[in-house]
């Protein structure tokens, strides 16, 4: 019998009942709720006359619909109603809520790891596709829809089909100016936005082992942009050091017991994967997207694809449609494209290390005239730590706006939008049509690249910024 993969080990540990050859009823260890879907699920449950099966395994925070303006000014009426409903329904069900302005509040995929709620070997779900983020700690984490959300509230379990496995090995030493965000965008460019559909992706290789946890969370976060709803990194000493002492991480003897179990989780050397991809990270340069799918990505020193040079008619038409939406010319260099907005934030890139990387570029410089640049920390704790380090001051001095934590302009659910036709460099995860607002044009990039672009007033190569 061949060895088992990380996914298979965690999966097998959670099977309550085998329902068919490839479908199981899985136990869910952590269920995270947010303001867009949390109260809706709890109300749905109530209307069916059911109760939350395990409120102690369920946690909630508002992040999507809140304004990130100072004092939360401008939260819409409906956003306030959702917040009130989340407060009322979590209280009624005995679910812990990390509320506005309290430590623990923040983007749901930032607070899970930060609080030690997300643990290696745990199954974690949330009504949000970027739940794959938590896989950076060696968890089996994935996004679910509203119906599955109600199912988990009612049963603390979920019916799931066992996915195929894909191992993406990043080998080599990361060049200067290249980050976790660039690594994962390069992989998406390589295998496409559907390259991971139906798979759970395990990220491995020397470059992953060298990455701190926050970088691993960024990598796993974009798994869904590969089409994979699950992305994970095997836990190691870096993982244990990150988690030790966090509020909800086990302590004392229980910590020792947990670490002992977590050391058994990494894929066996003879584990078999359905597909394997190897990426040489030494060839990666900072990445930036040019189109309307995350697979529309190039190195920042590259050129925008020219549809005229593409033979396949479907691909050519897709490029033409994307370029028309983006207002770009095929064949032109991507660097130097003027930008109107820069957004540093989102569950992809709003953690302390992301803000430090952006601040390092911004320090002592000024945001270009005509560019509006926002920094939205991922959580209340990230915000407080950043302020304690003086990062807020660096950003404000450089002309960035320093905001309150939340999802903000990543998906614009709270009304914070890029105006129609305007161009944004964003550290978020989706450059979809209209994602940052109707007809907004989004270029995805790393925090350092985004900060460099804010300073330059155009898409910029951070490696030319001389730090």
């Amino acid at each position: 019998m061949p060895g088992r993969s990380l996914l298979e080990k965690i999966w097998d540990q959670h099977v309550i009942a085998r329902l068919s050859e490839d479908t199981d009823l899985l136990h869910i260890d952590r269920h995270l709720l947010h303001d867009l879907g949390g109260s809706r699920g709890l109300l749905d449950l109530k209307s069916r006359g059911l109760k939350v099966h395990n409120p102690e395994l369920t946690f909630a925070t508002p992040d999507h619909a809140l304004s990130t303006a100072p004092g939360r000014a401008g939260t819409s009426k409906i956003g306030m109603e959702l917040l009130a409903a989340l407060r009322a329904e979590t209280a009624a069900s005995g679910i812990t809520l990390f509320d506005v302005d309290q430590p623990g509040q923040g983007i749901v995929h930032v607070i899970g790891p930060e609080l030690g709620l997300s643990l290696p070997g745990a199954t974690i779900v949330c009504g949000d596709s970027h739940t794959c983020t938590h896989g950076g700690l060696g968890a089996l984490a994935f996004g679910i829809g509203s119906s599955e959300l109600t199912h988990v509230l009612a049963t603390q379990a979920l019916i799931q089909k066992r996915p195929k496995t894909l191992r993406a090995r990043f080998e080599g030493k990361l060049p200067l100016g290249v980050t976790a965000k660039d690594m994962i965008l390069a992989l998406i460019g390589h295998i496409g936005a559907a390259g991971g559909t139906g798979y759970a992706v395990e990220y491995a290789g020397s470059a992953i082992r060298e990455l701190p946890i926050e970088g691993r969370l960024t990598i796993c976060n974009l798994s869904i942009e590969l089409g994979a709803k699950i992305g994970m990194v095997a836990p190691d000493e870096t993982t244990f050091e990150f988690l030790r002492g966090r509020p909800y991480a086990p302590q004392g003897e229980m910590w020792d017991l947990a670490v002992k179990a977590w050391r058994e989780l990494p894929s066996d050397p003879d584990a078999v994967f359905d597909r394997e991809v190897v990426i040489d990270v030494e060839k990666i340069i900072p990445q930036v997207t040019w189109g309307t799918s995350p697979e529309h990505v190039v190195g920042v020193d590259g050129v925008i694809p020219d549809p005229k040079s593409v033979d396949d008619p479907a691909r050519r038409a897709a490029i033409e449609t994307a370029l028309e939406y983006m207002g770009l010319q095929g064949g032109a260099p991507i660097a130097g494209t003027p930008v109107d907005w820069v957004f540093i934030g989102s569950c992809t890139n709003s953690r302390l290390s992301d803000l430090r990387a952006a601040a390092e570029v911004a320090r002592g410089r000024k945001v270009a005239a005509g560019v509006r640049a926002w920094v939205v920390p991922g959580s209340e704790n990230v915000k407080r730590e950043a302020v304690a380090e003086g990062l807020d001051k660096i950003f404000i001095d450089a002309g960035f706006e320093w905001r309150e934590p939340g999802c903000s302009m990543c998906l614009a659910a709270n009304g914070e939008v890029v105006a129609p036709g305007q161009r944004s460099v964003s550290t978020s995860n989706r450059n979809f049509v209209g994602r940052q607002g109707p007809r907004a044009r989004t270029h995805l990039a790393s925090p350092a690249s985004a900060a460099a672009s804010a300073i330059a007033g155009a898409i910029a190569d951070v490696r030319m910024m001389g730090r």
């Binding site: 329902l19 829809g145 199912h151 009612a154 049963t155 603390q156 559909t197 709803k229 229980m254 179990a261």
Partner: protein, 216 residues
Amino acid sequence: MPKPFDKLTATAAPIMRSNIDTDVIIRIERLVGNGIRGTLGKWAFGSLRYLPDGSENPDFILNREPYREAEILVTGPNFGCGSSREGAVWSLQERGIRAIIGSGFGDIFFANCFQNGILPVIVDKAVVDQLAADIEATQGAGKVSIDLETQTIVSPSGARHSFEIDPRRREGLLKGLDEVALTLQRDDEIHAFQASDRTARPWIHSTRTPASRTSA
């Protein structure tokens, strides 16, 4: 509880662009609020269906006869990728869509379809392309038939194509099964799992900590 699905003969609209994400199917601002069910059909594919001034885009297929009445979509690769928003499925359902045929779907969207009694059918891209061509050859007048019981699709040209589907999913759709009710019948097994897991992995289950510890 989803409505059962067994067979359907209906107008089908090919929407062949690759990577149509759930943000394009339904914009986020339509999904903010707890009273949205029943309001979404109008906003399905909003950014494609309407021009910036709010009028209908005559070039978009669902704005043209006979596709306006389509109950089946024939879609390009990776339809429904991106966000987990189930509102994407709700909006299509409220627009009258009951089945979607494509070469591949976003994993979460695919699962959400079954939860709402919508049949997503995966067939080879060559079959999808042929279906789209057959539909366009009749300018949409030729109907497409889908029979879930026999797992076959009949194109307007009369060509028959079989498709594979997970047997559990198939049964769930045919009978309109409610997964929550089914799983609750196994509540004893869930409790038994948790009891033994509390010994094996106590750190998963003891989560009650004082609020004062939430500062990381």
